[in-house]
Structures are given as structure tokens and as C-alpha cells.
Symmetry: C2
Subunit: 96 residues, 2 copies
């Protein structure tokens, strides 16, 4: 009846991050933070989890002299997201 919802994606902020990264080639920490309205601390933690799951890549470097973190979604992230959407549909019936 109801499909299981991948707990890594069933989190408001992580879902927002992945959803955002689905629409762009890459995005940096500050941009993601602004778009998702997240606090830096929360975002830092959640990006880490997504990276450890292999759903995103996180590249830390410098832009000029400031630290700069760039994220992008991986193929595994894309398919996890797509599966999550399918699973959600089992909860939402035809109103979606």
C-alpha cells in the first residue's frame, strides 16, 4: 500500500537541497543556504549526510581568499530522489 520513504530524503532541509541541486549543475554553500533558508550549522550537517550517502559531491576550496564549498548531485542522488518521488505518490493518491 504505502512505499517506504527513504529517510535520508524525507527531511525538509535535505529534500530542499537535493531538489535544488536537481535543477542546477552545481551550487555553493551560501547559495544553497539562502535558497533553502537554512542556518549554516544545519546546512553543514545535512550536506555532510548527503555526501556520506553518496547523493551529492561536496568540493571545498577557496574563492579568492575565502573558503568556498560547491555541491552537485550525483547519479545516485538523482535516482534516490526519483525513487523518493515515486514512493511519495503512494501516499498522495491522485492529488498529485
Amino acid at each position: 500500500m504505502f512505499k517506504e520513504l527513504n529517510p535520508l530524503l524525507h527531511s525538509e532541509l535535505r529534500l530542499a537541497v537535493v531538489s535544488l541541486l536537481m535543477t542546477v549543475e552545481s551550487a555553493d554553500f551560501v547559495y544553497i543556504k539562502e535558497r533553502t533558508n537554512a542556518t549554516a550549522g544545519n546546512l553543514s550537517v545535512q550536506l555532510d549526510k548527503l555526501q556520506k550517502a553518496g547523493y551529492i559531491t561536496v568540493v571545498k576550496g577557496f574563492k579568492g581568499k575565502k573558503p568556498h564549498t560547491t555541491c552537485s548531485i550525483t547519479p545516485e542522488g538523482i535516482s534516490a530522489f526519483e525513487e523518493y518521488v515515486m514512493a511519495l505518490k503512494s501516499y498522495l493518491g491522485d492529488r498529485i
Copy 2:
């Protein structure tokens, strides 16, 4: 960009319960438990939260000599669910 997801509904089991109750006039504890694959303890707790939020009504009585709990969704539950679905759409783009 991303709408807030009602935390009361953004829980796998509570979402399943509400989603199920959207499709029936009422359902009893055991039926909900079976349909959602929940443990009794977890279901008991989550039904309580939904009731306290005013999203469902929970009527406890007896069927023959055994306890019997019947649940149904309230108008507030229906609109909360519908708003939740709208909010979700902001995360899912056009794949939904």
C-alpha cells in the same frame, strides 16, 4: 522557493495514517495498523498526536468485549493534508 512542510504530517507513519483516512469514512486501530505496517506502540503514539492536533477523531469503545478504537479524519485534517500536498509540490517540480 520551498514552502514549509507541516511537521505533523511530514512523518512517514502519520502521513500514511492521514492518507489512509482520506480514502475511507473511518478505520479502526487494527485495520490502520495492518495497512500501514506499523507497530501498535508507534501507531498509538502517532494517533494521539494527530488527535491532539485536531486532524483526526479517535473514538475508543468496545466491540463485543474487546476494546475497539475507531478513527476518522476531521475537516481540519483534510485541509492540513491538502496544504501539505501543495507544499510538497514546491519540492518536487514537475515530476509530480
